[in-house]
Symmetry: C2
Subunit: 162 residues, 2 copies
């Protein structure tokens, strides 16, 4: 039983401009992650995404529009012979830079929500190497701290709470 | 203009048991990330979280309950003198293991949604080191591929689409 009441240091700082909040405002909800996953595994066309990920049509339209507005996806025209022009959705550099987020989610899920048959989706180093890719925490001095050895501290953009 | 219609390899595989989906079902929405952030920065009490993160009371109750049920948080009793027993919320090992996900989100946000004043929240190596922590993509052979050099492939748990 804890008896003293220590006020955490973090209570001095505002969450108003928090990077996690701002990032999650953009990434939004689980559907966004489903859509991003499709593009990351190379499924780039509306009907294919809808069929494979079983995303309702309106949700998919909405999330694709949002991801384009936010600069994570771009559209590339294509045409199936005899049909009208359509678009493929491709990752921009900002979208591709979400790879560590996706790999970290996959890694956590495979560890804490494992399937008996093993992981369904494995990030691999392309080309000749082909080895499994993971994310690693590393500090600027080259150490690789465990989660318990990492702390989140206020940086130069931190604003005091009023 | 792309003219041929190649069916992506991923269309052969089901997303039914996808690790990203299963993980996002647990993490859920942006509010869950707000709550996790609070605990990660050391804000562990209901009233403090509510006040600092400006989370509506019912949403906070709901997300805390969910995170406990899913094994990411645990409750620890405390008592402020003269008041009833209350609970602090602390990360379990499974919760702590989300650190790479949080650091990856912070890193992406600081790069792609930068604040003029600099990052508000900086992951640091605790103790004597104190250097900034980032996440790095690394393969089992020790290479550090860029996002473009990583690909998501079906693993042993992948199920064919029917």
């Amino acid at each position: 039983m804890i008896e003293q009441q220590a006020v955490p240091e973090a209570m001095r700082w505002s969450t108003e401009n928090c990077t996690i909040s701002r990032t999650m405002e953009i990434l939004g909800d689980k559907w966004t992650f489903h859509v991003l996953r499709e593009v990351f595994v190379g499924v780039r066309r509306f009907e294919e995404m809808r069929a494979r990920a079983e995303i309702p049509r309106q949700v998919l339209t909405d999330r694709l529009t949002g991801l384009i507005e936010r600069g994570l996806l771009r559209r590339e025209p294509y045409r199936v012979p005899g049909q009208r022009e359509r678009y493929e959705y491709r990752l921009t550099q900002a979208g591709l830079d979400l790879y560590p987020v996706l790999v970290a989610l996959v890694q956590w899920g495979d560890e804490h929500l494992p399937l008996e048959a093993g992981p369904p989706l494995v990030p691999e180093h392309r080309g000749d190497c082909g080895e499994k890719v993971t994310v690693v925490l590393r500090c600027a001095a080259g150490h690789e701290p465990t989660p318990r050895q990492v702390a989140l501290h206020p940086g130069p953009g931190a604003q005091p709470r009023v």
